[in-house]
Symmetry: D3
Subunit: 259 residues, 6 copies
């Protein structure tokens, strides 16, 4: 089975970290591809960047010529998944939903530790539409920006742990790491906290194996039917973008860190 | 006061109809600008197109050199608004939220008549995150696609009215027209139905006048703070898109129907 | 357009303050009438007084001989609006609903600062039935009674601001002033707080202009159909009240502060 | 123990029927008083009449010189109870809340059969603020007005039963009679339906016995603290109403059917 | 009328305390029987013990040869009631539901003080399925285990009162004692707190009198129809349990504290 | 990895069918054990039988001497899981929660087809406490009892498909088979329906592989801490049950169909 893991931003070092976590989580026989968009923001810390990234991810998916069995979208709380579900005929999972679902299998209430406080309402809204908010005991920011997470891993673990403790005091019995850039830190945080810690990338890889392993895929019955045929100006965007389109004859371009 | 009304798709005839409705609703002293994105889908009938449109609208807003006092986003149930709220320092209203709010001022429960059945869950999710779903008695599709609405206005009014009747039987006391392309039909449908009919474009224009008239704008306190400074590849997109960027030295380009 | 703004209590100085705020908010061409009931409590700080006021307001409306295009009810969290909706054929707006709706246009979550703690559950219940509670991050009392608000405006602004800060820390991105008697203080509080502050009277005046400007009014389809013909003893009350009825041959009586 | 049962309207024959049902439900040692307001509507079929009745009931309570141990308010879905809770130091129960609570003790979901369809949203709102809506499977009107219920008892039972059947098909396992004027019909309807039928007057009498029997009363801790001292014009109303006040030196006036 | 009160655990001293509280609450003419299971845990402080107790209680009910008019189940937040509702043709009440319902009759929001913090989510889930969570302002543990409650009554009252104060600060206007083992302490805690305190055993006894007094019982229409005929291995368990079955020819066995 | 799949009833042919489905779903390297309780009901069609089964399953788990890496509980909508979570230090999954979660990964709303109508409220309550009800579009019974499912597989598939069609018309985009006894029919029903069909046993096996594969297990932080030490009469039951205890020196007894 081959899983494509999509880092929603253009920072290749983050793609590499996500790929490592996904690979560590994957079962024998699961191949992990990981990539990022050809354009768009280097990190996502709000709605504006999230919407740009959503289009950039869809563009990347539309121009990729590598087959895969399921897609894992590695942006926490970010938009775009339903678009990929319409575009692809393989299952599409995102790390927000999978982290929350796995956490709900492990405890009565769960909490989320994320990067900036400004992302908290966005994550709560994503959980709300995912139908998973009821058992969420809290979402809390560490104050660290996405790209700051990589700067000093010791500090990052310490800050995540301290933030998580407040969420546990609020009733969470399981903690989810609320940023793709936190992937790989779950074991160290869990050891400090004493409650299970779920990394969304790992959770989504396992759930993608589960869904694809049963031969299931997205329902085309209503919400996620294929797009209707119509004119879409400048689409796919990367084929029309100066300096991107011409440099990307195939998806295996050197400009992308993945695949 | 100058309001910018953004048709989310690239169909100029729809921009014209939306502009006409907005102008009819506007108070004396309110100037209506209307435009559409420079690229993207000709109509929006699902999540994939919605996410492309969201980025195209943000691109359009980032490159527009015309000042305005408030933005009205004329896509019903479609994503993107929160991105515009981060990007702009004037208030941003969308027709879904405004239609539902105005309907709630007029009756105990409201309903929505939209285009295709596949859009129903998307609209419900938009109402859910807007915090306005509780008093929604039903959302129902007419089976007419967005661009079909213009084809035979008599049929369109008849089908909307018939669909609305079912929603009224389900408890709605007010009906909202659930597509920017239905703008202008509210009076004829209301006359047939016997209950108030709210057009989202008209409602959003009036609420934009209300908010801007009081000198209020989007809170920058948390969710909608300005984007942080960072690298965004190929942004703004239209400046890098072959055949779009070069043809659009300013936002008043002849390729756009508006402004 | 002529709007009637109804102060729910009999304190004429409060009517005057509400009239001033409404007038400041009104568009050119909007005429503001303001009045209060002919009997009932001098201020409303609980359910008992709220129910008396509701009947007194309905009595006032039933005996008023001045035409108007929309009614704004200026009691925050107080009962009675649905009765006025049945009685009148013009739209009826209340400041609780309009403040919350306008706040939701400006931020992800809103909060309310009101007078006494005892009113908090009453306000929350009003938001609940209005279908607007979901995005309310908190309602909090200042400890100042309704009539105390006028006593020392500096202190009032300071106490409101301090209370609002706690609500903002709880997640509110916009603050609503939760008492008609706070009308006019929004700009000073906003300057202190750094987030938008919505005064319900101003919001309701603008929304009344919006609704009436589109020619819309309350649905008579179900909840708010006209009262059925029947015997109502001693109705309208003010025509039967000793010392009130005789003194009030018309609604333009000198005992009322308004109109 | 002495219970006061308050018919919210001025129709003495309805007071008599309510008194009979209450008396039949009461335990040995419970004395039932029943009365109605001195002014106001002859029946309540909407919000306007409900708000008038609320004030009329409070007026009646304020001027009554008979002691009692608990109050039962016999209007279904109607406003006013919280006012009485502030005014009195004995427990106050209403038939909506008591009928729903007792029904929830008897089955998983319950339904309500009421008079006119226009009252359905009002009843649902009352259940919503009472915190009892979650397990309500449906509220449905018979089409019979309040005063029509007495006209042809056979037809009334038949129409209630037929309406209740539809509610049972929708998932209700217990039916509540949703109008004080239906009191006494529960056994005949239950025999037809085959599921338990709860009459609110009977339920409220038993729950009043329960609460008062334990020596409990309304909390004065927050929502229902006593009204603060203040000027209330023309209060109590019946003392100032021409033809009412003078005719009612005490609450045992011949104009009232009860007590 | 004869009520059976079932202590869910095997501790006879707790059965005695529950019987005393129930007897004090009962009306003249109500006879109280109280008993406990023949096997199972000595106290219930979690789900595992709760599920064992549920089966033990059903076993006890299936083998009891004493008639009764209603069953009161005296475990707070514990499972099993729906099973008893299927098994018996008399009404079945539990103290969680009755305490919450009675509290809702007395104040706007209620709170619960229970034993261990680990039981809090279980109690909240029980309120959730009972449809009574909406107006719950908080559930909080004292840190005292079930059997510790009896050890030092002074300390127990002090700790309950202190815990209840925190719940009142969180908005509760009424407090429920959240453990059958707290029965009898309500008056002392109420005197300290200044808000009404509801003991579930007392509340359930009164509501059982109410329901049975009206001749009502559990609906057999859907959820709680009688069990279908089928093979059940080793049932009833107490007839097959070595040392229990042989020692319990009838339910009036000396091993049980009650009846 | 070794998974234990627990059929909640004593019917060995159903254990065999569940084992076959689980084995077909399992990854290479996953060993499936399947068993059933030593006593209790032959099928579960209500709360009474569910509670007996819960205790019987806990008894089976307490006396089993075979190690395993995760437990899958194969009863749909049935109680007991939280007890197993307290008892075991490996993860515990149940088919209701896993079916619903997997369905939510595949479509916007899901529905459930179960056996008897009387189980519908029980399943909805289980989804409610699992925090998964929000996106459930409907639960509907086929009218076939649990043991009837095996009688005529053609009829069973036809009736499930017809029932599922009604649920799809109500908005479900994915269907879950709502009984462990339906395991294995998912592909045939999906082929008829045209939307994805999730079997809970298969889903739970894959999710158990996912959770255990990441080395995660139930949080012991609050709800699911180990039971406290205490006296439990006659526990474990099977060691004291005549004819069961003596015949079951180890869990590999010939009386059980599994392991």
């Amino acid at each position: 089975m081959r899983l494509l893991v999509m880092n929603p931003n253009t920072t290749a070092s983050m793609t590499a970290a996500i790929r490592a976590t996904a690979t560590a989580a994957a079962a024998p026989g699961t191949e992990i591809l990981a990539t990022e968009p050809l354009w768009g923001p280097e990190s996502i810390e709000g709605h504006f960047e999230g919407y740009l990234s959503a289009a950039a991810v869809l563009d990347r998916l539309a121009t990729l010529d590598t087959p895969f069995d399921a897609l894992v979208m590695a942006g926490f709380g970010e938009p775009g998944r339903e678009g990929a579900q319409e575009l692809l005929d393989v299952p599409v999972l995102d790390i927000t939903e999978c982290a929350a679902q796995m956490a709900m299998l492990l405890g009565h209430a769960y909490g989320i530790v994320t990067t900036l406080d400004r992302s908290v309402p966005q994550i709560r809204d994503r959980l709300l539409t995912a139908g998973l908010l009821q058992r969420c005991a809290g979402v809390r920011g560490t104050g660290l920006g996405v790209l700051e997470l990589e700067e000093d891993p010791e500090r990052t673990v310490a800050v995540i742990t301290e933030t998580a403790r407040a969420v546990v005091r609020g009733g969470a019995e399981v903690i989810c790491l609320g940023c793709g850039g936190m992937a790989g830190l779950q074991e160290r945080v869990a050891a400090e906290l004493g409650v299970p810690v779920v990394d969304g990338v790992a959770a989504a890889v396992k759930f993608a194996e589960a869904v694809a392993g049963l031969g299931l895929t997205t329902s085309t019955g209503r919400s996620f039917a294929s797009p209707r045929p119509k004119a879409i100006g400048s689409w796919p965007l990367s084929r029309h973008l100066a300096g991107v389109g011409s440099a990307v004859p195939t998806a295996r371009s050197g400009k992308t860190s993945g695949i």
